[in-house]
């Protein structure tokens, strides 16, 4: 019974981003031809955010992302590829590669800024790399509304001993580094993108992250964002990230602010 309830709660949490969909649908005008394009990067376009990644349109259906400043210490890249579009539906895959070793070694230090310990009984962070692959099904039921469902699997290669005392027990970070301690991770998610007007949009996502077999196995993240395209090139985003998960110290919620200033050219 408890397990069924847990699954029910997980399903509700997963579908939380779609909470407002019914209202949206009822409010839509029937205006075929319009499509949600708020956050798309077309071929040759660049988009960069203060905190968000640099995005480049390799083609109209293919986008490359990276965090350029962090590339020096945590080389990372993500490819977003929309494979097939049929009517108001599309299939997209996402593939990301991260090499966190230099950053983790950099923050293993004594004194202020020491996020990880420089402890003589803990071996240096080994070389390690993670690969995450995700598939998304998109549907645009109305011209200004898009929603998706996603599923993904991540793998990690760790080339040496990774001490379990090197976890960073913080939201967002812990579940993403968890794959290195567990070897693999699974994710399912859903979300919606709602274009309220040419300038305004709302976005919501939810994701369940599992690290099967790991002592801290379950995480849930949900974000809500409002975006304002205040000029041809500039946009502002503000929102929140709500997380819940099992950490080495126990279960905890976190509510974090989200903010970004984006520019495209």
């Amino acid at each position: 019974m408890r397990r069924i309830l847990q699954r029910l709660v997980a399903l509700i949490l997963l579908l939380l981003p779609l909470l407002g969909t019914t209202t949206v649908i009822s409010a839509q005008e029937n205006s075929p031809g319009r499509k949600v394009e708020f956050d798309k990067v077309r071929k040759g376009d660049f988009h960069v955010g203060l905190f968000g990644p640099l995005r480049y349109g390799l083609a109209n259906n293919m986008e490359l992302q990276t965090h350029p400043i962090f590339d020096f210490v945590i080389p990372n890249a993500k490819l977003i590829w929309t494979h097939k579009t049929a009517g108001n539906q599309s299939i997209q895959t996402r593939h990301s590669l991260v090499y966190p070793t230099p950053l983790l070694r950099l923050i293993s230090r004594k004194g202020t800024g020491g996020i990880l310990p420089d402890d003589p009984t803990i071996v240096e962070i080994p070389s390690m790399i993670s690969l995450y692959n995700e598939i998304r099904y998109y549907r645009i039921p109305f011209p200004s509304l898009e929603y998706y469902f996603s599923g993904g699997i991540g793998f990690a290669g760790v080339f040496g001993d990774l001490d379990e005392r090197t976890t960073i027990d913080l939201p967002v970070v812990f579940p993403r580094l968890g794959v290195f301690y567990n070897g693999y991770s699974l994710r399912v998610g859903s979300g919606m993108d709602w274009k309220l007007s040419p300038q305004w949009g709302m976005k919501s996502d939810a994701e369940l992250i599992w690290l099967p077999g790991y002592s801290e196995a379950f995480f849930w993240e949900h974000s809500g964002q409002v975006r304002w395209q205040f000029s041809e090139s500039w946009n502002l985003m503000a929102g929140y990230l709500l997380t819940f998960g099992t950490y080495p110290f126990g279960k905890q919620y976190h509510l974090l602010p989200l903010f970004d200033l984006g520019y495209r050219w």
Binding site: L19, V24, A27, P117, L242, G250
Partner: protein, 360 residues
Amino acid sequence: MKQAIYSWAIVVIVIGAMGCEPLVTKFPENSDAIKYSAQSHESPPAVGNSLLIMTWNIRFGAARIPWFGDSCGERVILTKAEVQEALSAIADKINEVQPDILLVQEVDVESNRTGYINQVQWLLDHTYFNYAAYGSMWKSQFVPSDGLGRINTGQAVFSRWELSDTERIQLALRGDQDALTTYFYLRRNILKTKVMVPEIDNLYVLNIHASAFSTDDTKQQHVTEFKEVFDALDSGGALVIGGGDFNLLPPGSDSTNYCDEDRCQDDDPDFCPEGSDYTPEMTWMEPIYNAYSPAVSLSDYLASNSRYFTHSTSGDVFWNRKLDYLFTNGTWSAGTDSTYQETMQLADHAPVSARLAVQP
């Protein structure tokens, strides 16, 4: 659209209110202490004519491992096995001495440095104590320094009998640090609790861990605040036990400067670590000595300082100063005090005990 926004807002507010904690917990002046109960309870023995009281700074179950913060060491995050081994040795000593009430300082309940072992619950479940109360002196979701990460450490009172009226009383913050350091730093306190011994009315315990490394008058303020709480209970007719790690020497101690003993190998020869020179602080314990009865009388201590030493920073150096005390407004049974100097490898403080005379 409004309905969607309202729905999201309600979800966020409800869940946020349920579970969100600040990065660093700043405690109010007075707050409830956290109560614990052992998984299985043992019936307390009938009270005779005394209760055995003990105080012990257990160094968060780090035994004598050279930890970076207090012993010139380089260790930061201990393994669970290391902590459990140290706690087992501490529990063995407690079970051997069999105090009725135990005041503990530096006990971790949710700290990355000690494998997130809840040491209050662990000690309850590995000794004969039935109840405990805990007051945190350092609670932060993440300390971004030295790889410490999450920490929650403080004082606890363990008892065979139920505890009530438990309270955490905030002490003055250090006045010799910048604002950012102060924000992330320790918040010292007095843990106050009433012990419900059936035959004794109005028995209170005060447990303090005063500032260790302050170089201004913070420690003196802590002693003054401790005495004020003690005085208030005393004037209300309570029988009070007050003790803990005061980080101060008894007045009249032979040695008052430990710069040489505490200096690390790589330090400059003229360098004196913070908190190692007690010379300007030698009168700060006098008000308590003058007002209440110490478990180790000042005359006994002055006759032989070293016999009562309770602390040394390194496991390689035998106890070289007394920092740990027990006081009462009642009476200690004559000749019952003990300083357990054989515990050199269990922690960086030795426990001190004495029998409190009671008339059930």
